[in-house]
């Protein structure tokens, strides 16, 4: 229990051993990314808040360090890479150069203790394919994420889904959001949706069940399923649905690893994110989060 000096919430120095460990992990990821011909970009540790305002709800905004700079602008310390990447790339994107395969790494710093007092420094490393809305891209990223989630002692589990299913149902009745979030049917859910919602909650729902409500998503999930079929690491959980999809527009997946089945990565498709920064471009990506306290 070596005494260390106190540091601001969300940061601490890494001494020799910790650094060596961190660099080993980085090396493994970088190597895998480069083999898959992804190129690295470096994103700034701070950026203005305003360009991301429409993307970040105020709760999330308050999880990052924010301050007023000398020009009087509101600035935040990096807490999420994906939108930063979109903002950084947009000005220079052009159809000719797409698709791009990029990766990034670095610390994200969260100031706010989460609900239950957790408060940890996080190192993130992620990858993204910009300008390719194909199912092949989806499958490629799922495989890449699975490969990176593999550890010596255990295989990862990759759970995937398509947020547009929930989005389309919630669009018809907001009561669906609560039901799916709690995994429990509620009175508010309209008759027309009770069957499908019940099936989603009970986990019996099949792609055919959701097809009428989200045909495109269903089609894509079929195709993805076929492509992954052989592989037991991947499982489709149609009910694995967040209340709010954030900037995700389609495929959504999470990687669980180790014996503890801890969530180590998450990602998905955000085909409208780049538009917000002035360039239309489909994109799919994922981010691994390394917790230095583990």
């Amino acid at each position: 229990m070596a005494a260390k000096s106190r540091y601001p919430t969300g940061v601490h120095p890494l001494l020799v051993e910790e650094t060596a460990r961190r660099r080993r992990i980085e090396a493994r990821f970088v190597d895998t990314f480069e083999k898959a011909s992804f190129s690295e970009v470096i994103l700034p540790i701070i950026d203005y808040v305003e360009p991301y305002a429409p993307l970040v709800d105020s709760a999330a905004a308050k999880q990052s360090y924010r301050f007023i700079d000398r020009e009087g602008d509101l600035v935040a310390i990096r807490a999420d890479f994906t939108p930063m990447l979109a903002r950084a790339l947009s000005p220079t994107l052009d159809a000719g150069t797409l698709p791009l395969r990029l990766f990034y790494r670095g610390d994200v710093i969260r100031v706010e203790a989460s609900r239950l007092g957790t408060n940890r420094e996080l190192f993130q490393i992620g990858a993204e394919i910009v300008g390719d809305d194909s199912i092949d891209a989806d499958v490629a990223m799922l495989h890449l994420a699975a490969e990176l989630g593999r550890t010596d002692e255990s295989e990862p589990a990759v759970v995937y889904n398509d947020v547009s299913i929930a989005t389309s149902l919630i669009a018809q009745s907001d009561a669906v959001r609560e039901a799916l979030a709690a995994k429990r049917m509620t009175a508010g859910v309209p008759a027309a949706l009770r069957t499908i919602v019940a099936k989603l909650i009970s986990g019996e729902a099949t792609i055919d069940d959701v097809a009428p409500f989200a045909p495109e998503a269903a089609a894509r999930l079929c195709a993805i399923g076929d492509a992954l079929a052989s592989d037991s690491l991947f499982s489709l959980h149609l009910d694995d649905i967040d209340g709010s999809a954030g900037y995700y527009t389609g495929l959504r997946f999470r990687v669980y690893a180790g014996r503890a089945r801890a969530k180590v990565a998450q990602g998905g498709r955000y085909d409208t994110l780049y538009e917000r920064f002035g360039q239309r471009a489909a994109a799919i990506g994922f981010t691994f989060t390394l917790d230095d306290l583990d």
């Binding site: 239950l116 589990a157 709690a182 995994k183 909650i201 694995d240 089945r261």
Partner: protein
């Protein structure tokens, strides 16, 4: 699979739920011992303070459990709540001392819920966190108002307190950790189905 049972108020009903669903739960004799963990047919049953069930499930130290919505909200627990139980219902209420002035100081066992309630109403007030006998705070003029669970309303009547506002309808729920739910679907779904069927029978 490790299941957390809340000690006290809900304990018997909670055990009843699982027993009814055919689980081999610890017996009263078991519970007479000082032990707090019991293994039965590969399931670990742990007994913790009712307020701690959401903490164990949120941190993955328990895979599932039974907790009141009051504790789930107070801990902003993100676990799924697949089953809501018909028993042990009550209300989270704002209670005032007789002839209380406008609310500027409120005592409660639920500071987080209380703060959210006050902010939603745009009320500036000081929250005084207490560990128990919350109504007493209004009786003894520690604060003019209190926020607490009201079941029978007995205490409120005895001390002529005034029920000013319903903050939330509270009921016990089965909670299941998100990661466990996602990675152990079979186990989870089987448990939920058995519990729901048992409840329907009971009706």
């Amino acid at each position: 699979m490790r299941i957390a049972i809340p000690k006290g108020r809900l304990q018997d009903r909670a055990l009843g739920v699982f027993a009814g669903a055919g689980y081999n739960v610890p017996t009263d004799n078991d519970l007479k011992t000082r032990k707090l963990v019991f293994e039965r047919d590969g399931i670990e049953w742990i007994f913790v303070k009712d307020g701690d069930v959401p903490v164990y499930v949120e941190h993955g130290a328990a895979d599932a459990g039974i907790a009141g919505l009051d504790q789930i909200l107070e801990h902003e627990c993100t676990a799924y709540q697949p089953v809501e139980f018909p028993f042990g219902r009550c209300r989270m209420m704002l209670i005032a001392a007789p002839d209380a002035p406008p609310l500027t100081k409120v005592a409660t066992k639920y500071p987080r819920i209380t703060r959210q309630f006050l902010e939603s109403r745009g009320i500036r007030a000081e929250i005084v966190p207490l560990n128990g006998s919350v109504e007493l705070a209004a009786v003894l003029n520690l604060t003019s108002h209190v926020v607490d669970l009201v079941e029978t309303g007995e205490t409120v009547r005895v001390h002529h307190l005034e029920l000013q506002d319903v903050i939330a309808e509270i009921s016990p729920r089965l909670i299941v950790g998100k990661n466990f739910y996602r990675t152990e679907q079979k186990l989870v779904r089987d448990m939920i189905t058995r519990i729901e069927e048992a409840m329907n029978v009971a009706r």
